[in-house]
Structure formats: C-alpha cells, structure tokens
C-alpha cells in the first residue's frame, strides 16, 4: 500500500477510536464531575430517600439471579454447543425471544406467569413470592439477563475444539473430569464475558422490574423514583452508585479474558505473522 494512504487510514482509525471513546465515556465523566461526596451522602440520608437499601437489594437479587443463570444456563449452553439437544435451532430461537422482546413486555408477560391469578402464581405464597417482592425482582432480572449469558456461553463452548475433549476422554478422563480440566478452562474467557454481560443486564434491569417489582426498589427503580420526586439531584447519586456497583466485574473479567485468550491462542509460526 502507498505509505501516504496507509498513514491517512491510520489517522482516520485513531480519530474514529477517539470519537467513540468520547461519545461513550463523556457522560460518565460528566456524571462523576457533577457530584460531590457531600451531595452524595446528603442524598442518601435525605428524608424520603430510600437510603442504601436499593443498593443491597440490587446486589443480592442480581447475585441470586446470576447464580440461577449460571447453574441452569451452563449445561444448556454446553448441550446446545455440542448438538446434544433435540431440535437445537428451536431451543436457540427460544433463547433469542426474551433478548428481542422489549423488557416492558417481558414484565407484562411475567404477570401472567407469576401473578396471583395465574396457574403458577396461585400456588405461590404471594407475600413472599408474588408481585412486588424481592423474589419478583430476582425473576425479572433472570428473564432480562439469562439470554446474554447462555448465548455467550454457547459460543464459548462451541469454540472449544471437540478433538481436545475426545483426547481427554481417551486419556482416561471421565466426562466430569473432562469438563473440569479441559472444556471449562478453555471456555472460561468466553464464559467470563457472558457472566459480566449478564451481571450488567441484571443490575440494570428496569423494564420488567417496573411492572412486577417496583417496590421495594432496586437501584434502577430508585433512580426512577428519585428522578420523579427530586429531579436530577435525586437520581444522579443512585446512578453513580449503580455504575460503581456494575462496572468492576465486567472490567476485570474483560481484561482477564483478553489476557487468557492471548495465552490460549494456538501456536502460529513466526513467519506467518
């Protein structure tokens, strides 16, 4: 390529990267710049403010939802990736439905599923598991976040060379040992990315939560009610809290998985690079 064209294309790429960064991160910088520690602490202790309750509630509900997603979603993703399920394309499409559906609609549908008059809901203790309870929050977050994890885990497992699994079995591993020693370590970078995406979705779940679990509030609901009651000053502290609570896991797991992927890359002869 002509050196001047190459220089120009490099410059355009750098510029595009910079613009993307500014567009994506500037609001975050603004958010932090607009708040002082004093204002933050004042906001949480103000009369009528729900305090730190929404933070703990969101963390606990998301942790439970995520645990359920991992326990149920990991085997599903593995079986899907290994073509061991009947009608795999139907299952896959089923996973895409909640992803494609507007969260508000998911919330409405959940009323039909767990509401007091539904077949399932009528058998549940409505005070503990009904609408507007902690568990309703868990269920709403599960619905919003599960597809992100399952689809990422599906891709991660599909990326593990089946010959390596066969090799482990031939070398004397049981299926469980093979999963523990080969499949999961090799899929781990992809699983970590899926996990952090699901965590961010669960923590930030709002649409379905608004319908089935608005009170007691999690962090996104607290932002909404703060905005309604006190305007931006009431909403921003909770927004900062949400960002602080959400970001560490995705950042750490993205960095780790990028490193791990580099380590797991198949060997390439130097001459080919």
């Amino acid at each position: 390529m002509n050196p001047s064209i190459r220089r120009a294309s490099t410059a355009v790429s750098l510029l595009a990267t910079a613009v993307c960064w500014v567009i994506l991160l500037a609001p975050l910088v603004e958010l932090v710049a607009h708040l002082s520690v004093h204002e933050m602490s004042h906001a949480f202790s103000e009369p009528g403010s729900p305090g730190f309750g929404p933070l703990w509630r969101s963390l606990a509900a998301s942790a439970i939802a995520l645990a359920a997603i991992v326990v149920l979603g990991t085997p599903l993703a593995y079986l899907l990736a290994r073509d061991r399920l009947p009608f795999p394309r139907v299952v896959e499409t089923g996973l895409l439905v909640p992803l494609a559906m507007p969260p508000l609609v998911i919330g409405l549908l959940l009323i039909f599923l767990v509401g007091p008059s539904s077949p399932v809901g009528s058998h549940l203790n409505q005070d503990l598991f009904g609408l507007n309870t902690f568990y309703a929050l868990v269920v709403a977050e599960f619905y919003e976040a599960a597809p992100y994890y399952v689809l990422a885990a599906y891709a991660a497992f599909a990326g593990v060379d089946r010959d390596l699994e066969h090799e482990a079995l031939l070398l004397g591993d049981s299926r469980r040992a093979m999963l523990r020693r080969v499949t999961i370590p090799l899929a781990a970078p992809g699983l970590a990315v899926g996990l952090s995406m699901a965590w961010a979705r669960a923590m930030g779940a709002f649409g379905a939560v608004l319908i089935v679990a608005y009170n007691p509030p999690g962090l996104p609901m607290a932002i909404d009610t703060g905005l309604q009651a006190f305007g931006l000053n009431g909403a921003l502290p909770y927004a900062v809290l949400l960002v602080i609570a959400v970001l560490p896991l995705p950042l750490v797991s993205l960095l780790w998985s990028a490193r791990a992927r580099g380590r797991l890359a198949p060997g390439v002869a130097p001459g080919l690079l």
């Binding site: 073509d83 009947p86 010959d163 390596l164 031939l170 797991l264 060997g267």
Partner: protein, 359 residues
Amino acid sequence: MSGLSISITVPRRDFEVAADLLVAPGERLALFGPSGAGKTTVLDTVAGLVPPLRGAVRLGDELLSRPPARRRRLGPSGPTPAAIRHVSAVRQPPAVFPHLSVEANVAYGRSDPELVEQVIARLDLDGLRSSRPDSLSGGQIQRVALARALARRCRVLLLDEPFSGLDAPTRRSCREVVEARSEEDQAATVMVTHDLREAQAFGHRLAVIDAGSILAVGDPHELVSQPGTRRVAELVGYVSFLRVRDPAGRRRTLAIDQERFHIAGSHAGCPPERAGSWSTGGQDSPLHLQLSGRVLSCVAAGGRFEARLFVPAGATLSTSDGATFVTDEDSEVPAVVASPVPVGKERLAAATMPPTVAG
C-alpha cells in the same frame, strides 16, 4: 486370543469402510493407503470415537466398540468406557491441550510417572517441560502428542501418522521409542500412514486399504514384492503396467517400477488367492527387453532416460532366468535407456534393463 480383533463396517459420506483385522499382543500392524481411504475412520472406531454400523472391536473377550443400541439422533457420544482403559492414541492432527504445559500435557490423565520421565527424556522434550504449546513448532507438538500417548500403560496403541512433521533422524529415534514401548507393554499396535517406507519400517505386517476396503494383509516385504492385484501394486508404488502373454499364451499383467517388476496375475483386479504370482527371483535379476517401436516420449530421469515406445508388432521381454513374455500388438512399452532417443523416430531399442530400470 487376547489380541485386538477388529471386524467393523463404518458408514462415511462417500462409502462404507469395512475392516477385518486381527492384531496380536505386541504385534505392529501398519495400515497403509492413500488419503481418504478410510484409515483414520478405522482407527477412530477402534478408539471408540466413532461407533461402527455393524460388527465390533474386541480386546480379548472385552468389547471396546460396537454399534449403538439404538440410532441416536443426539450426536456422537465419545469413547466407550471400555476403550478408555486400555487404548492409547496419537491422532491427526495432534490435539495437545493449549492451556497446559508440555509436562502437564504428557502427564495428563492416567499416566505412569516413571514413564512420563522416561518418554520426556527419550523424545528430547526435557528443555520444553514448562513451555506452552503456543510456543512450540509443529514437530515439537507432534512429539508432545506422541510422548503423551506413550506415557501410560496400554494394551492397544493407535498411531495416526505419528511421525508427520518430523525430520528423518527424529523420525527414526521416535520410531524406536514407539517400538520399544509397544514391545514393553505387549500392546497390539496399529499405525496409520500413507508413507510406504514408514509402513514397511514399522510394521510386522502391512495392511493395504483403499476406498474403504482392506485389499491385502501380509508380510510387508512380500506384499510389496508380490502384490496380488493391480490396485495393490499401484498403491505400493508400481508405476507401469503392461499386458503380456506368457509362453502358454495366458494373459498376465506385468507391473513395473523403478526398482521392481512383477507379474501380478492373469488380468488386473484378479483376487489375490487366484493370482498366478510370479517373481523374478529378487532385485538382482535384470529384465531384458528386445523391442522395436516408435519413441513416444523420452524424459530425463536421474542419470538415465525414461522412454515410452509404441510397438506395433509387440515386444518380447525376457528375464535372466529364462522366462519370456510377449506384449500385445499395438501396445506402449516403458523403457529406461542410457542415452536420449529422439521422439517420433522408428528405432530398435535393445536395452538391457537393470533392476533400477523401467518406468
């Protein structure tokens, strides 16, 4: 019989692979054939990775692989537990675990710690113990896969092109290590290769497979010097075939290559047990050629020239031990001559062809 008994039919997209083979404990069988002949399918079935459509693989009285109880639509199930206990395998391409060091790869699973140390030393992997596979060359990865298969006690050793990507001296030393381990464990050993020299050097017996069928099994030297059928002759390296008549007027096919020639039978494709095998009595017997024809082509081949002659009147071929054959009229005859002959000229070629002749 405590050896490995293979009697299977395995479906493939293009054809069915059928194999009936017995490998005694400590015996080394080289399964030789062209690419796509079904060699690896046979090996994968013995390993339990591919279920056979019919038949079974047995080790002594123990069943290693058989058809699934009912047709599963849910994908391959992996090796059967029985296969796991006694089978060691090097597959192609070698699959080494990218997240483990060389030493962890070799010691993976049910390895024997003493053997791990032994094969690491003998396969010259000592300096690479803590290296990750992504920093290794193709040949080094091949040696890691080989070491891993040899670092455990086994009764069946399956090797799929185990020395590919290795240079000649390494290849030889690796082969010696494999042979030693195979004898030590008295393992029924099957090596798949498309390299005839390697198959001959390694195998106590040679099996030739083509398009899913085992064409011949036998002593490597015998099979190569007296291939029963034309196809086997082609596969073991004969490059020219000549239709001739023997003194009794029976039709035979004369198979010729750079170093050997052989009468394969009354006609090509005749079953081995009915082929009237005939040999010249070793490589020292020169093939004499007296023929008159038109030179169709003449190309340099090493220090000599390979020519093809069109012989309208037929040619007489005789060996030093007195046997004589006559080619058909209007046939093409390959010959090796000491000096170039002009193409298109009618000429008499009286060539005494040493064993290295002919083409």
